[in-house]
Amino acid sequence: MTEPLDLPVGELAHLVQTGAVSALEVAQLSLARIERSAALGAFLHVAEEQVMQAARHLDERRSRGETLGALAGVPIAVKDALCTLDAPTTAGSRILTRQPDGTCPDDSGAWRPPYDATCVARLRGADALIIAKTNMDEFAMGSSNENSGFFPAKNPWDPQRVPGGSSGGSAVAVASGAVVGALGSDTGGSIRQPAAFCGVVGVKPSYGRVSRYGLLAFASSLDQVGPMARDVRGAARLLQAIAGHDALDSTTSQDPVGDYEQACDEDARGLRVGVPRQYFEAGIDDEIREATDTAIAALQTRGCTLRELDMPHTHYGVSTYYVLATAEAASNLSRYDGVRFGLRVEGDSGQDIHSMYSATRGSGFGSEVKRRIMLGTYALSAGYYDAYYVKAQRVRTLMRRDFDRAFETVDVIAAPSSPTPAFKLGERSRDPLSMYMADVYTLPASLAGVAALSVPIGTTRPSEGRKPLPIGLQLMAPAGSERTMLRAAAEWERARGTPAPIPPVEA
């Protein structure tokens, strides 16, 4: 009999809904796995008491004959950039703690929000168990989880390698089997790339499909919250629970939310799949190119038609993003000033408020955050605003037009999620620009605001120096067309036949 935590999302929810397994038992199983996997560094806070209480309450309601929600008893981990009522929330940063020297948020007097993020509230409303907050690159700035203010997270496929970022902890939590689903956030690839590195499904909804209320903001015109799960259907059910207009976030779409699980049942015959040649040029790992070609050919065998695309502005993505996102971040992160929440570094009585701001921010922010704030500030400063910020905004339009043109002739775009598999800890952390290049394939979809996901398509071959590492296929669809890309991703899973490989258990 399959262990409850290894079941797909919907099947586990069904068992809890019918009472075949208690929510309390599921919570305990998840807590045990969370503890056993501690060395991977996926979690910043485990909400043990809260989740046990929630699980008991759920079991009581069921025993009274109440119908439980679509995610009943499903343990879900939530990226620490999302506000969870009365539970530590740090966005991976020491500036949201009281003491920068504690070893983890629980020791360091982490900030406790007075409200749940909308996504978190909606998951609770579906009776999910919010069990833990996951590790991340500080303020979502990073592609490896090495920029966490606390400790790095490690890839369960090879703990000497990164899990990707910035939603590294969420990807590890799902890949290791400690939780059944997770929420991450994606600004330039921060769900898709760690999903690819860890061998799980990760969805970046189209901009405005999911509320950002309660997501500690990095770049407001790019951020999106999205689900991670071991299979497409699981991600679809999570997305269903969180998607939709929110009066608390005026950038959310009024468009009705489609039936995402039902999309997974539709076959993809006749779907037009575009393959942009710019995603297959120099710099892509041979095995990734091969695996991606094979997966796309499999879609063709299942009845999709293929078409080559030309998306000429793809390689301007890194430059465009690192001007616009950093400019928006410089503005968003100005709220961390020591006044109302988090860290305050107050000197002697002679200090004025500006010294307090600078000392607090200098001490509380890590080096990548400071670097990006400075970059963004520079791009917005007098004399540089037109050449950098406005220029980048115009190039963003050119990149959107690449997608508009592509979607005139195809329904979905297929490409690699990342040019390389998971790299080693420390390999890119000294060279910011090389780290930024890790996102080259995920940035364009973020800049255009379209829907995108990563689905696992296999692993690299084991070799002398290297364990097998997951490879992800990226599928992109027009804004609002999440159903189309879920349909294509589910078709791939059917073509693959067997479930996605799981990380080998360490002896």
Binding site: Y316, R340, R361, S363
Partner: protein
């Protein structure tokens, strides 16, 4: 090309960031390299291309002008490093000369 120390300090002051000498030196190099890469944007002809400030929102949606409850003051002040007289206490600030 690296930024100058003065450029870094200027930006750091605008951003209210206090940096060590080592951080200033590293930033000058790092930011210089990144900006060198970003210069590739100048290759593109963007005459007549409108700027995208936002991918979705063209008009700001409005809501009815009806008061709704917000956070309780106690919740707002609960996490403040220092409070005084029902507000956030901060070091004094002086007018710019």
């Amino acid at each position: 090309m690296a930024l100058t120390k003065e450029q870094v300090l200027h930006v750091a002051r605008l951003a209210n960031l206090s940096l060590t000498d080592e951080e200033v030196h590293q930033a000058a190099e790092d930011l210089g390299k990144i900006l060198d890469h970003v210069a590739q944007l100048q290759e593109l002809d963007t005459d007549g291309v409108p700027a995208t400030a936002h991918v979705r929102v063209s008009e700001m949606p409005l809501r009815a002008d009806v008061a709704v409850p917000g956070l309780a003051t106690s919740a707002v002040l609960a996490e403040s490093p220092r409070i005084s007289a029902g507000g956030f206490a901060v070091p004094k600030f002086m007018d710019e000369e």
